[in-house]
């Protein structure tokens, strides 16, 4: 292998003990996830072998670190460790050994060394309340670090639901005024990869895509990575055949649950959630929540924490100062109208009968009058 002035992704993978066979498997897998033609897997492999590595700087704001946690546990059965190595993090608060001033320097060095050509992966979001005092990093509001990191980045990846939509810390009443990244960074492309946590493979696919095609991937109208967020969970779900058949889990642990029936009645949010869980799956591709028997929470959707119960698809809506389900409101309105109609109908009947009586009386009177007139005429 010819020595190059720069390091490629392939070099790094080989240095970390990934076999070429696994590398090629990873390339095929990625091409499939991205929806590319099978032949393009060779393009990906070629690009990863010959082009300079795409550095990723990973910063973490107001978040629970579940994204990183999930990330370091990710590994596909075909290519253990490949994903973590693919990302070739140049800076990550949680994973790196450095701390304190050393870490600060590491951040600044990583930004300067890769200026204009790294991807800034942002986990968590920035609280705006009290001038950003709810998230302090290196003695300053974390917002400053986000701005510094984004300034020289090629693109910003909003990694996870926190960064994409706001997630739990932005749920009502959002005391810290937590704000998603796309509302803060306007001068750089922001690619949303929502999920709580998001699927790690999406990141390696993103890096592969950028290296191979020298451009950012397509995003949908909401800025999400279109290849992974183009379909509802429901439309890829392993239990979908049961849904179409009308075979549902009625309660936990009933017969249907044991047979793996659809979790629609248990409040599954799959029908309105965009994510790729059923295709990529989790934990070495073992399973994903629905497959394991729990309804989808819709964690990759905006505002998912404010949608009422996790175990109901019917959203709560504010009603007269309390929260009621849409269903209860519907029943209330329909009931009120029905009662109103019944009362009005009863009154109308009474009114009608009264009018009828008046009319009959009038007719009677007219008859009598006519009779009297007739008699008068006869008399004359």
């Amino acid at each position: 292998m010819a020595k190059r002035a720069f390091e490629t992704h392939y070099d790094r993978l080989r240095n970390n003990g990934v076999s070429r066979r696994d590398f090629l498997k990873f390339c095929s897998m990625t091409a499939a996830w991205l929806g590319l033609a099978p032949a393009l897997a060779t393009n990906i492999a070629h690009a990863l072998e010959t082009k300079p590595r795409l550095p990723v700087i990973w910063i973490e704001g107001l978040s629970c670190t579940c994204c990183t946690e999930s990330f370091i546990r990710s590994s596909h059965p075909l290519a253990k460790d490949i994903i973590l190595n693919m990302i070739s993090l140049d800076y990550n608060d949680t994973l790196m050994a450095a701390a304190g001033f050393q870490a600060q320097d590491a951040f600044e060095n990583a930004v300067l060394a890769n200026a204009g050509n790294y991807i800034l992966a942002v986990e968590g979001n920035a609280p705006f309340g009290n001038d950003g005092m709810y998230c302090i990093d290196g003695g300053r509001p974390w917002l400053r670090r986000l701005e510094a990191g984004a300034k020289h980045a090629k693109a910003v990846v909003a990694w996870g639901t926190c960064a994409s939509w706001g997630c739990i810390q932005a749920a009502r009443p959002n005391p810290t005024d937590a704000t998603p990244i796309a509302h803060i960074i306007h001068d750089k492309p922001v690619i949303k990869i929502p999920g709580c946590p998001p699927i790690p493979e999406v990141m390696s696919a993103l890096v592969s895509y950028v290296v191979t095609f020298d451009r950012l991937p397509n995003v949908d109208a909401q800025g999400r990575f279109a290849a992974f967020y183009g379909q509802h969970v429901h439309d890829q779900c392993v239990r979908r055949a049961h849904f179409d058949a009308g075979e549902f889990v009625e309660e936990w642990d009933d017969d249907g649950a044991k047979k793996g029936y659809c979790l629609y009645k248990m409040g599954c949010k799959g029908p309105t959630t965009y994510n790729a869980c059923p295709n990529t799956r989790w934990n070495d591709g073992v399973s994903y929540p629905i497959e394991s028997g729990h309804p989808c929470l819709g964690c990759s959707e905006q505002d998912f924490f404010d949608q009422g119960s996790f175990y109901s698809r019917i959203k709560d809506i504010p009603t007269l100062g309390t929260m009621a389900t849409a269903e209860a409101v519907a029943a209330g309105v329909a009931g009120t109208v029905a009662v109103g109609v019944a009362i009005h109908a009863a009154t109308s009947c009474a009114f009608h009968l009264h009018e009828k009586k008046l009319k009959e009386q009038a007719v009677e009177e007219a008859k009598i009058e006519a009779g009297v007139q007739e008699e008068n005429r006869k008399d004359k």
Binding site: G298, D303, I317, A330, V341
Partner: protein, 250 residues
Amino acid sequence: MNILDIKPKPGQGVYVYEFPVRAWHWTIAACIFTLFVSGFCIAHPPQSLTGDPTRIFHFGHIIMTHYIAGMILAIAMLCRLVWAFFGNAVSRQIFIVPFWRKSWRDGFVGDIKWYLFINKKPDINMGHNPLAQAAMFLAVLCMFYMCFTGLGVYSAKGYSALSRSFHFMENLAYNLGGNGIDLVLWHRMGMIFLVAFVMIHVYMVIREEIMGRTTMISTMTNGVRMVKATLMQDWRDVRAEAEGREGQAK
């Protein structure tokens, strides 16, 4: 002469609802009924079945029914909108409410008084009475709203040109701070209005048929609005007239 200004004598009628209007009315009536029932089943699926899902497609059929009825409704609404440009004055009434006209407002107040039993005699309208016109205008708006929210939910499932043109509904939900589930919620909320409308509409039509001075149900069937020959309320007129004559004679 504007069809709305014709004042037929008792026992006479005017052809007010042209065929496309009547066809549209009964089409959407059937669609809405189907949509209510299938929509309720989608929100509250029937008792779970068991069996080989390769061969069973029951819930799929329910959803399919909802989709097909919804599509027919949407097309019917579109056709009706187009017909308003070609039809008679009555066909435009449900799209334009002339609230700026004094006569319309007076009629509106008069209708409310009639329904509150204050007026003993309803007005004769060849088209819709002003109160009904306002309600139908809202119902038509609601129907379009249901078509848009429904197609918005539907569009998330596909990439056809039709689907893509309704993706904006879902984006609207996102831009308002929610997600696709809000679209489903909005669709349900619209349904509440339609249920209320249908209940009141059916009640009012039956009531008018019995107590009003013109035909209603047959009008939507054969298109002719008759002024009833024997008007119950008219005895008041006859009597008032007779009393007036008597007074003059004296």
